[in-house]
Structures are given as C-alpha cells and as structure tokens.
C-alpha cells in the first residue's frame, strides 16, 4: 500500500518547525510504524537529505523511548500499544498520516520528533524510590504482601515512562506518570516508611517542571501503552492529603 506522511521537521530546539510531506510506496502491512519511518529515512539518505530523527530503542513496547503523535493520538490509533508495536495493517492504502513530536513546555523539542523528557527523571529523583542501601536487606519473604496488593502494585509499576500521558493530556499534565510511581510504592509495605515525603516531594517537582494541572480528562489512561488507570491519580491525591494532614 501507499501512505502519505506529514511529519514535523525541526532542525534544532530554537529553529522553527514545519510539517513536511512524504509519500512511501510499497508499504508492507506487516511493517511496524517505525520500520515505515526507517524505510523513508533510507530513501531520504540516498537522496542526500537528512533523515528524520525519532527516539526508539527496544521496539517492543517496553523501554519507553519511542513516542509520536500519530494521526493526532499519542502512539497512534491502537490502544495499549506503543508506536513501535503498531503495525501498518492498522492503516489503509492512501491514508495521510500526521506525525508530530510530544508537545509540552516541560518536554522541549531537541530535533524533529525527538524531545527532552529529563523532567521525568527529576521527578523520580525527587522521591520515586525506597531508600535502601545495598546489602542488609531482610529476607525477601520476611514481609508478606497480599497477592491483590502485589498485583495492583505491578499494574502501577508497569509504567514505561514514555510520556504519552503528558503528550495526550490537554493540559500537559504529568499526573499519571508521577502517580503511578507513588501508587506502586504505596501499595507495598516496603514503600510505607517514606510515603509522606515521597508524595510531597514528587508532586513539588512535577509542579516545578512546568507540567499543567490535571483536569481529569483521563486521556492519559486511554493512550497509556500499559493502560495504567487514573485511579493512580486518585490514590496520589489521597496520599497527598494524608501527608499534609499528618506532617
């Protein structure tokens, strides 16, 4: 099949950007969307043009490197699928597909479709951990955790940090990202001693990075490749109230 692409090109952080038009022929339906971009890039290189930059690494939906707005939706039209796992059989011959980078003040564009997501790392560093030095940990079975809690913790912990939640959010809020880590650790006894400091510090950092507030659109849950529920955000708010009241 043939697809037409309108792709955001931007030479650098301060350069103006624009949507450039490309057409790729002989697209195989088994190709992934990123492989389509590979094919296009090969063509561009051969024609002496600069290839389109986009972040990607594992190409199996787990590292969280990839992230594109495809057709106006973060990670494209298939639910619970990172764009690296989206295959061309979900498109039709002759489609025109708009491809844009994540857009948010807190995610400045580096080049073309590549953005700087280091704000996420800083939110994590503000408290997204259990302070435990190496060695001296008690036996792994010393603290039982109910299977339900462990499973729920795993649901929240499955966040891949791709930033789709921010990209899709009409407010560019990082609430789902931040909340999923808070919720993961709040579900487990190991996370309990630091839960108050954690939520206060992480929320502060989220604020400082310039993300928007959450208006409960729940768009984040719809585009999250892991389908993390916005109950995480509700839980974060409870944790926050508890932390403020008790400190």
């Amino acid at each position: 099949m043939t697809v037409h692409l309108r792709i955001w090109r931007q030479a650098g952080p301060d350069s103006p950007g624009r949507l450039a038009e490309y057409t790729v022929e002989d697209v195989n339906e088994h190709m992934s969307f990123l492989e389509l971009l590979d094919v296009l890039n090969e063509k561009l290189i051969t024609e002496g043009e600069e290839p389109i930059e986009f972040d990607n690494d594992c190409r199996e939906g787990i590292c969280g490197s990839c992230g594109l707005m495809v057709g106006g939706v973060a990670h494209g039209p298939q639910p619970r699928t990172a764009i690296c796992q989206l295959h061309m059989r979900h498109f039709n011959d002759g489609d025109t597909i708009v491809v844009e980078p994540w857009r948010a003040t807190a995610f400045p564009i580096i080049k073309d479709l590549v953005v700087d997501r280091s704000a996420f790392d800083r939110i994590m560093a503000a408290g997204g951990y259990v302070s435990v030095k190496t060695g001296g940990a008690p036996d792994a079975n010393a603290l039982p955790v109910t299977k339900e809690d462990a499973d729920l913790a795993m649901d929240y912990a499955s966040c891949i940090g791709c930033g789709a939640c921010v990209a899709a959010c009409p407010n560019s809020s990082a609430s789902l990202f931040t909340a999923s880590k808070i919720a993961h650790l709040a579900m487990l006894p190991q996370g309990t001693p630091e839960r108050r400091r954690r939520v206060l510090n992480m929320v502060d950092q989220m604020e400082a990075e310039g993300f928007g507030d959450c208006s409960n659109h729940a768009e984040c849950e719809a585009v999250c490749p892991k389908g993390i529920s916005i109950s995480a955000i509700a839980l974060m708010r409870r944790e926050y109230v508890r932390a403020v009241l008790s400190s």
Binding site: E100, T105, P170, G210, G212, S215, A222, S231
Partner: protein, 232 residues
C-alpha cells in the same frame, strides 16, 4: 504565619491542592444548586405562597450573611483556581498540535471537559446579571410585595413572572442552564476524582450518575423560565 497556615498555603500552591480546591468548591456549589433548585421548584407547588415563603425563610435566617459570605468565598476560590488551572495549561503547551484527537475510551475527554473554562466564564457573567436582576432587583419598596401570615414580604414570584415575560430572559436562562449542564457533566465526576474518591470500579458508576445529575439539574432549572414564558 502559623505552621498550619503555611502548610495550607503550600497545599493551595500545589497542583494537587488546586484540584482539591476545585473539587471541594465545585461540590459545595453543586449542593447550593440543589438547594436553589428545590426553591425554584416550589414555584410549581399547589400552595401559591410556597415559593415566596421559602425565599423569605431563607433570607430571614440568622446566619444568612455567613452563608452568603461562604457561598461567595466558594465561588471566588472556585473561579480563581479554575482560571489558574486554565492559565497553567496554556503555559504548559503554548504551541498546540496540528492534529489532535481523543483516543476514545476510557478517556473521559469530551466537549464538556474541554470547555470547563468557557462554560465557567459564561456562568460567571450570568451570575452577575442574575444577582443584579433578582437579589438586587426591585423589592418591597418598588411594590413587589405580598402578605404572608400577616407580614409583608418581597414578592419574588411576581418578579420572576415579569422577568421571564421577556424573551431574552426566557431563552437566555435556559441556554445558560444547558451550559451549566455541560459544566456539571464533567464537573461532578471530576470533583470526586479530584478528591481522590475514585477507584476503577467506582469511576464508571460515578461518571454515569454525574451525567444524570447534570442533566437533572440543567432541566430542573430551565423548565421554570420556559414554563412562565409559555404559560402566561
């Protein structure tokens, strides 16, 4: 400032604090609306004095000023926070997407959720007109008086009937009430989520009930002006 004061201020400055505030004030305003709706619907009571009696009862409460002040605070806080959330959102993404659409379920993004600031601002403008027209509108001195239990009280019912003769009022009000319905379609559910009261099982239920309540409130309010316009 006291420790607690500082703490509270910090809460209000944080993004979660802002949501707690919109949630609390939003729900408080909904409670107020329900009260107001009840008062309005007394218009249809078989007792022709019920409406004015109730209005009189309300303004003669000892605590009326406290209540009004509270209500005003809720409004002001709600508005300030709502507007600041909106402004932050603008700052958080100054350049929008060339193409953007919702991914669909389980997203709760809707016309209603996207237009909270618009419906909110219209409600604000409406409120000003509404308060000038009724609260500070003509009263006993201007002849809008009726005697109940031997006491002269303000005849709000007549004022209502006169105002809604006017098509601008009779149709303007319902229009705004539809917008109120939109505000609440997202608002009611959202307030519970803001207060952290949601979990995956509760969310769909509350979302649906919130929608139903929004429609009921909007319809409840808009029947009165239309009824008066068409029945007299």
């Amino acid at each position: 400032m006291s420790q607690t004061g500082k703490k509270l201020l910090a809460v209000f400055r944080s993004s979660i604090g802002r949501k707690l505030l919109t949630g609390v004030t939003g729900l408080a305003l909904v409670v107020f609306l329900l009260e107001h709706l009840y008062s309005n619907l007394l218009y249809f009571s078989t007792d022709p004095d019920a409406y004015n009696e109730n209005a009189h009862f309300l303004i003669s409460l000892d605590l009326v000023y406290v209540l009004e002040l509270g209500l005003l605070t809720f409004f002001v806080v709600h508005i300030i926070v709502g507007v600041s959330i909106y402004l932050r959102k603008r700052k958080a993404r100054p350049d929008g997407y060339a193409k953007y659409q919702s991914a669909g379920k389980p997203s709760r993004q809707s016309l209603s959720s996207r237009t909270m600031i618009v419906t909110g601002l219209v409600l604000l403008a409406f409120l000003v007109i509404h308060i000038i027209s009724f609260k500070y509108g003509p009263g006993i001195e201007e002849g809008f008086v009726v005697t109940i239990d031997g006491e002269p009280v303000r005849d709000l019912k007549r004022l209502l009937e006169e105002k809604f003769q006017h098509p601008a009022y009779a149709f303007g009000y319902p229009f705004v009430m539809i917008l109120l319905g939109f505000h609440l379609r997202h608002g009611i559910w959202s307030a519970f989520q803001s207060l952290g009261a949601m979990n995956p099982r509760l969310t769909p239920v509350v979302y649906t009930l919130g929608g139903v309540l929004a429609v009921l409130i909007a319809v409840g309010f808009l029947v009165l002006p239309l009824w008066i316009f068409f029945s007299t």
